[in-house]
């Protein structure tokens, strides 16, 4: 009895017959049992039983029918499922092997696609790394970040609402004690402070925070304990410190015996009581060496001065910041209302204490705002962060261009493979399988791109960090799980996106047409799709290049602005007393000594005392003047107290009258110098010389105006502003510093100047020397960032678009060789053909260009706040970009066009 076999499972797999399904399995098990019962019944009948009895006996002999049916079904479906899975993996493996083989046969094509996708995905991985750190990833170790936020206090001045995150400690106490919406309100202040002493001393990041910081985050110490709210009490808290984990590992080799040891921070000695968990840096964006109670830190940083209130009283000194956690169920609106009420109460208390210096509360419309815990998502987001957000979006456009380009390359390849694919379909390969294969191929290419992208991101990320965004901590892209995940997701998306169009081309293909025709016919529709892709790329290039142009001009404008002083070859020397307290005469003598020593250094041309520093240290004061209507006066003027050498040192011209002289000392009549714009604003065309001004909050009487000087830029946002100068000798300060005009490049002689001056400093005090250009420079960072990255991305998009255009036109020319041959044979000149092909390239380009220009015109106004004195519709930039694109288009089209014009009609007409 030789059974005839059904279709073998292997053959079924080979031919991709639909696999058995569960109801199929049920039926099969049923069939098997039925057959058994039938045969048994027949057997029993043959043995002489009556049919009914035979059936009953057959069932009896079988045993528990239902139970065995269900066990058989479930184990059979398990087996079936396993087989299907293996089939899928087998097929995938087969597809992968086949794809690798096919791609290796075309190394040029493969390399081009991987490079294109690598650049596109790499740009995105880089930008994602930055955006993630700046805007997405909240502080590490923060529990339930949705309920946590930073508190800002807003007031209106001259019609403009200003948000403050820096506030006085007294304000913190008022807000903390008069609100009910928050489970914690944390006070914190991150600062570079000096730790250790002598040769070991160095400046590190220290986190000052109130005792509820730990509960706010919900962290536990790695070892030891955290400081408590009892240890954070005014006036000076407890001198205890919690080390940062990384510092503990490096400086103490992770030794648990560190507890109980001491650490000098500033001029105070702290006892180490614990270590924070790994990766915890509180509200700081860079790693923190140690956390100390804010009261202890403040008592050290803000020592009591005679005649002044202690640091924890009064509202003048705004330094620390607040973060808070909402109580469960409290809405943001309710929290804001609560904060606003507490802020009003606090302002009322302040006004009661100093009625003259606080404007009526209703006029400033105070508001408390509970905003994102991530600083750059709050109302005071830095321009760099906003530019970064834009760049994140722009990098997506770059990826889109890369994908369009790759899709176009794959389409071209698909068209070349039409016959091969048609043969496969005719031979019975299912279209689903074919699509799967084609997608495998494009995802494989994207995976190659992703690997390249990670390498690019690693390199570009660190370049971006050092050159453009130096002020926050940076990890390794390559080791960052979130960046890797993002890259993988981007690659998968890119792979599927680029693979879908060519795959659908094949599936929709006319089978017989493809089999009958040569490689030539039927490509028109596909070329149209490719042309639209190229137009899209052209459009995106235009958008990116216009963005680049706007930032480049902003940067150029900012660079060429006249600061009103010569920041070149200028150093600022700060005197850090570090707890060394001298009485006022000795302190002033030290200042003079340092200044005079500086002048004798060979590297130094001249030196002058100063309090404020443009772009860095600001001091403002209100004034009054007899016979001047107070409405003509501002609430605040920038002010500075300076020594006679000042204007010469910073390179600011004296326009009328005189500067200060050595005879303007504490014994002589008080004098003042003001900037041109201040004089004009107050006295219009009157001669300001000899006028009297009085300072608010002071009883020192008249300062006689003796000179008018040029305006200086205080910051790019404000530009020039009215500025008042007083004589240093008449308004000495402990907080002053020096400007030093050097002979060589400031950065080159900085160290020599520091070495020359340091010996004069008593005890632990030291001089802190900075290049003034470095204060100016960070303000240009957003534009430099925008200019660099937009240009890079724009250039990349343009090159990709040009390459894409080149390949489409070349392809079309090769497809039309026959037709062009006919034209030439019929008497068309080579120049006619040249024009024909060029026109085609330009048509595609111009469509894309119009699209891009349109989008750029619409989107430009959102970019305006990030630009510096340039219109987002700047015609020059638009013009340059349009010309660039046209040149690129002609360049990309010229070669295939020339080839077309040299077609030999004889050869062309004979070939297929």
């Amino acid at each position: 009895m030789k059974p005839r076999r059904g279709i073998r499972a292997g053959i079924r797999r080979l031919f991709r017959l639909p696999p058995d399904r569960r109801d199929g399995i049920e039926a099969e098990v049923g069939d098997q049992i039925d057959l058994h019962l039938d045969l048994r019944t027949e057997q029993l009948i043959a043995q002489g039983l009556p049919p009914d009895a035979a059936r009953v006996e057959a069932v009896r002999r079988f045993g528990p029918l239902d139970r065995s049916r269900s066990t058989l079904i479930s184990s059979a479906s398990r087996r079936e499922h396993r087989m299907q899975l293996r089939d899928t993996f087998d097929a995938l493996g087969q597809d992968l092997r086949y794809a690798v083989r096919a791609l290796r046969k075309q190394p040029g094509f493969t390399a081009a696609v991987i490079l294109t996708l690598g650049l596109g995905i790499g740009a995105n991985a880089t930008m994602f790394g930055v955006v993630d750190r700046l805007l997405l990833r909240g502080p590490a170790h923060l529990r339930e970040p949705g309920d946590a936020g930073q508190i800002y206090l807003a007031q209106r001045f001259r019609g403009e609402e200003r948000f403050d995150n820096n506030i006085a400690y007294q304000r913190y106490l008022d807000i903390r004690d008069n609100t009910g919406s928050f489970s914690q309100i944390v006070a914190f202040f991150n600062s570079k402070l000096v730790i250790g002493s002598g040769a070991e001393a160095r400046q590190v990041q220290i986190g000052l925070a109130s005792g509820n910081l730990w509960a706010f985050f919900g962290v536990r110490p790695a070892i030891g304990r955290f400081f408590t709210e009892e240890e954070d009490r005014i006036p000076s808290g407890a001198q205890v410190a919690v080390l940062g984990h990384a510092y503990w590992r490096t400086a103490h080799a992770g030794d648990p015996g560190v507890i109980g040891k001491t650490l000098i921070i500033g001029r105070t000695t702290y006892t180490i009581i614990g270590v924070a968990p790994a990766g915890f840096s509180g509200m700081s964006m860079v790693p923190v060496t140690a956390f100390i109670p804010i009261t202890a830190g403040a008592a050290d940083l803000l020592p009591q001065r005679a005649g002044r209130p202690p640091w924890y009283q009064g509202y003048n000194f705004t330094w620390m910041e607040m973060v808070a956690r909402r109580k469960p169920g409290v809405s943001t609106e309710a929290a804001n209302t609560d904060l606003t009420a507490a802020f009003r109460r606090s302002l009322a208390a302040e006004r009661e204490a100093r009625p003259s210096s606080v404007p009526p509360i209703d006029s400033v419309r105070p508001r408390g705002v509970f905003s994102s815990i991530i600083f750059d998502r709050g109302p005071k987001a830095r321009a760099s962060a906003r530019v970064t957000t834009w760049l994140g979006g722009v990098s997506l456009l770059v990826l889109l261009v890369a994908c369009a380009n790759v899709a176009s390359l794959l389409l071209a390849r698909a068209i070349q493979r039409r016959r091969e694919v048609a043969v496969r379909i005719a031979l019975g390969v299912s279209r689903a399988r074919l699509i799967r294969y084609l997608l495998t191929e494009s995802v494989l290419l994207a995976a190659g791109g992703a690997v390249l992208a990670i390498v690019i991101a690693q390199w570009a990320g660190s370049a971006l960090h050092t050159l453009l965004l130096p002020d926050f901590e940076w990890g390794h892209m390559i080791a960052d799980r979130r960046v890797l995940l993002f890259t993988a997701a981007a690659a998968l998306a890119a792979g599927v996106t680029t693979g879908v169009a060519p795959a659908l081309q094949h599936v929709g293909a006319d089978l017989t047409g493809a089999l009958k025709s040569g490689g030539r016919e039927g490509g028109l529709r596909r070329t149209r799709l490719r042309s639209s892709l190229i137009a899209l790329q052209g459009g995106i290039s235009v958008i990116l290049l216009i963005g680049a142009g706007l930032f480049v001009r902003s940067l150029h404008n900012a660079r060429s602005i006249d600061l009103g002083f010569d920041a070149d070859r200028l150093l600022h020397v700060g005197l850090s007393m570090r707890g060394v307290t001298l009485d006022m005469p000795r302190q002033l003598a030290l200042f003079d000594g340092v200044k005079e020593r500086a002048k004798t250094l060979p590297e130094v041309q001249t030196a002058a005392s100063t309090i404020s520093v443009p772009f860095w240290i600001t001091w403002t004061t209100g004034i009054s003047s007899p016979n001047v209507d107070s409405t003509r006066l501002r609430d605040d003027y920038y002010a500075n107290a300076i020594s006679p050498e000042y204007f010469e040192t910073i390179g600011s011209p004296i326009l009328r009258g005189r500067g200060f002289t050595v005879s303007d000392d504490s014994t002589s009549p008080k004098v003042a110098v003001m900037s041109e714009s201040m004089a004009r604003e107050i006295w219009a065309n009157e001669n300001p010389l000899g006028k009297c001004i009085e300072l608010a909050d002071e009883t020192s009487g008249c300062h006689t105006v003796v000179g008018v000087v040029g305006d200086v830029v205080r910051g790019f946002a404000e530009g020039t502003a009215p500025h008042l100068y007083l004589s240093w000798a008449q308004n000495p300060s402990r907080n002053g510093g020096l400007f030093v005009r050097t002979r060589g490049r400031a950065s080159d002689v900085k160290e020599a100047v520091r070495r020359g001056l340091q010996p004069l400093m008593p005890g632990m005090a030291y001089v802190d020397v900075n290049v003034v250009e470095e204060f100016v420079d960070p303000e240009m960072r957003p534009w430099r960032l925008g200019a660099t990255m937009f240009t890079l991305f724009g250039a990349l998009a343009l090159v990709l678009a040009a390459v894409g255009l080149f390949s489409v036109i070349s392809y079309n020319v090769s497809q039309r060789t026959h037709e062009l041959g006919v034209r030439l044979a019929l008497g068309a000149g080579a120049s006619d053909v040249l024009r024909l092909v060029l026109r085609e390239g330009l048509r595609i380009t111009i469509v894309g260009m119009m699209l891009g220009v349109g989008v750029a015109l619409l989107a430009g106004r959102f970019l305006t706040p990030l630009l510096f004195s340039v219109s987002p519709r700047d015609p020059l930039i638009f013009g340059i970009v349009i010309v660039t694109l046209l040149v690129a288009a002609v360049g990309a089209t010229l070669m295939p066009a020339l080839r077309a014009s040299r077609v030999n009609p004889n050869v062309a007409l004979r070939s297929d």
Binding site: R5, G6, E28, Q32, L35, H36, R61, P64, R67, S75
Partner: protein, 113 residues
């Protein structure tokens, strides 16, 4: 008919493999073959047989394919795999030795030391 023996625990698999050692069979063929060869002495519970077949298929001792009986009815044919053949050889040797030992011991009539 004498009283039927139920196969001893663990022996059904071996018996089924033996049945399949010449050619593929479907379930009912296996039952009738075993019943025939044992002269009706073995009483095999049909559901137990199918559980055994399923178990052995899972263990890779046999393979199942659909085929047609000589009367053109669809039936599931079981075929012994190489692993099954090896298993049968090992089990058969074990059983033969075991049965020898058993019968030798049980045949002893007087206690000798």
């Amino acid at each position: 008919m004498t009283e039927q023996l139920a196969p001893m625990k663990g022996t059904l698999d071996t018996l089924v493999l033996k049945a399949l050692s010449w050619e593929p069979m479907h379930g009912f063929e296996i039952t009738t073959w075993l019943e025939g060869q044992s002269g009706g002495a073995l009483g095999i519970d049909d559901s137990a047989l199918y559980q055994a077949l399923d178990r052995m298929e899972e263990r890779g001792l046999i393979k199942a394919e659909w085929g047609l009986t000589e009367n053109n009815r669809r039936a599931r044919y079981y075929r012994m795999t190489t692993a099954g053949r090896a298993h049968l050889r090992a089990e058969a040797a074990r059983w033969t030795r075991y049965a020898d030992v058993m019968s030798r011991i049980l045949a002893i009539t007087s206690r000798t030391t």
